[in-house]
């Protein structure tokens, strides 16, 4: 049982404050959907949790099981069990899915411990998960998560369709077995079939020992993945949290309602 706590988080780029006091507690076994319009800071929140270096945290904290993770680099956070599924996964020429994932899995599962990684500059091959074992597991999971086995040899996201990219993100999550997964608009740009596949993947991975922060613009994915909580994110902070009914309310009334009812009411000018 783990807990990810975000406490009064303020984040800026330069002089612009993007997150204005976010509070959120996520437990293992929970799916917490966070809905908000474009530009509300949802993606910033996901990047900051994952440890993107370009943001300045001006106030507040992020704690995993009581320990602050703010001083950790992105790779350390990944190794403590935080996973970010990107809205726009980058394509990296010449780097095959299997090759990079084997190194990632080896690090996360402790085949390359922190000390030896630092000493040898994390030399690939110093401590990797045995190839056969890795291959077997990857093949099994590729089948389970509907990723064609040819993708193992393909270069990361190069020439992948939108759906293929998102499915590969889910596959990586399955291999890395995080404690908490932040899914940044994993539903965006997908047709209904692709959405179904991605949602099935999430449901398979939604076990009692894992928590999800499901960031989305649309209610649509929540027809397939049932959240325990739904928050509405607006103007850099959470303006309402409730059960699944919040998503339906939002679907019905739209973000304009949020602006008029919730924001105006919550922030006295």
């Amino acid at each position: 049982m783990s807990t990810l706590e975000i406490q009064n988080l303020h984040v800026a780029i330069g002089d612009t404050e993007i997150l204005k006091g976010v509070d959120l507690t996520l437990h293992s076994g929970e799916i917490h959907a966070m809905m908000g319009p474009n530009g509300s800071g949802k993606s910033t929140l996901s990047y900051v949790i994952a440890g993107h270096p370009h943001y300045e945290i001006t106030q507040g904290d992020i704690r995993l099981d009581g320990e602050s993770i703010l001083d950790m680099e992105a790779d350390e956070r990944a190794r403590t069990g935080i996973f970010l599924a990107f809205q726009y996964p980058v394509s990296i020429p010449g780097v095959s899915v299997a090759n990079f994932l084997r190194t990632a899995v080896s690090n996360v599962r402790g085949y390359t411990n922190k000390e030896s990684a630092a000493e040898d500059n994390g030399v690939i091959g110093s401590n990797l998960m045995p190839m056969r074992e890795f291959r077997r597991e990857l093949n099994t999971k590729m089948k389970e998560f509907n990723v064609d086995s040819s993708f193992a040899r393909r270069y990361l996201n190069e020439g992948f369709s939108g759906g293929e990219k998102k499915r590969t993100e889910v596959l990586q999550m399955a291999m890395l077995e995080p404690k908490f997964a932040i899914l940044d608009e994993s539903d965006s740009g997908l047709d209904i079939d692709a959405l179904q596949v991605v949602a099935d993947g999430i449901n398979k991975l939604a076990t009692q020992d894992r928590g999800f922060l499901l960031i989305t613009h649309y209610q649509r994915i929540l027809n397939f993945v049932k959240p325990d909580y739904v928050s509405i994110f607006f103007g850099g902070r959470i303006v309402k949290t409730g059960g699944p009914e919040v998503a339906l309310m939002l679907e019905e009334r739209g973000y304009k309602w949020v602006e008029e009812e919730l924001v105006a009411g919550a922030v006295p000018v």
């Binding site: 440890g51 990107f86 020429p93 270069y155 890395l176």
Partner: protein
Amino acid sequence: MTLLIEKPREIVEATAGFSQETVRLASQAKNEPDWMLDFRLRAWQLFESMPWPRPTDEDWRRTRLTGFNLDNYAPYASPKGTAERQDLDPDLLEALDEMDSAASLIYQDGGLLYRQESDRLARQNVIFTDLQTAVQQHPELVQRYFMTEAVSPDANKFTALHAALWDTGSFIFVPRNTTITLPLQAILNQGDGVGGYHHTLLVVEEGAEVTVVDDLMGAENAFQASVVELIVKDNSQVRYINLQDFEHTAWNFLTGRAVLGKDTDLRWIQVSWGSRLTKAFLDLDLRGQGGHGELLGLYFPTRRQHIDHQTLQLHRVPNCFSDLLFNGALKHRARSVYMGIIKVLPGAQKTDAFQRNGNLILDRSARADSIPGLEIEADDVRCTHAATAAQVEDEYVFYLMARGLTRPQAERMIVQGFLQGVLDRVPVESVMHKLEKVISRKISR
């Protein structure tokens, strides 16, 4: 496998400095026939008559020889005889064993050090021997092909010097319709403080197939002026890998040309890891219709290394294909130069030629110059060229780190990915693994 143990030749102390007399002594020490002595002396005259490269020469504008002076080196090394396998230096043994080869030659101190032969090759009438032995045993072949077809002594100042003083090197002759599956391997471990002149002369007859690997190392505080000649006759297939990993104190000058006949298939992989400075002239000379030539290069200078490749894809006849891809990564204050020309002569219609040079700049202080070029005198051709210089994308690094890779791992993976386009086309698996290891090492440093 047989071992030839030779007594050390009589050691002739090189006279101070480079002179005609030096050339004469070098030839004498090898008991060479008169025709080779004459060849060397003519080349020496040529060398003396040619000016040193000047910064105003187009070829040398971006690669200066400041600090290079022949007087700092012994003109040539004196061979110390051959060795048994168990006496080989561990580095040489490793280089020998890391590759599964049909036969191997190791050179050191200006001569042959070790020979691992194959009875099978002998039965196939394949000649794979050191060039000095070939001069004695196959004089007609050597006279016909040595610096006559591909690279002539007057190509540049360094080829003239090479012709006058050449020492180590291999003569490879693959008869008609002969296929050699495993690579032929030649290893050079050049000594310290001395001039070296390594030669590779490959003659592949009609319908034959061969892979040759030159593995070059050593040369601490030394210079090397090497020549590579690949004569690829009609319908034959050649894979050639030149793997240069000299010490970072070495000056390295390479001139190479492949001459391709009709319906040939050549892939040349040039790897330039080592040396303080490299200037390499590499030419594909397509002389027969239906020729297919690939010239692939990898470089990764670090610290203050300077690596310069100058290429020519010469299309003399119609219906040929040439593809060039040089990819390099640069660290610290390193510098690279790539200059390339696709030249299509009048009448060489239906030419298909590509030229790409990509550079990945890992440090702000590194610099890559890329000057691609086309000279086209035919009107029905398809020629493209492209040059890129990029830095490691922060978003790539963040993505990989968010998956648990350390920053060095992420950077290495991105660099290796960048070089993968060339690595994927290395035809010998053991060589590919070796290259990957060197890349890891260079990134970590």
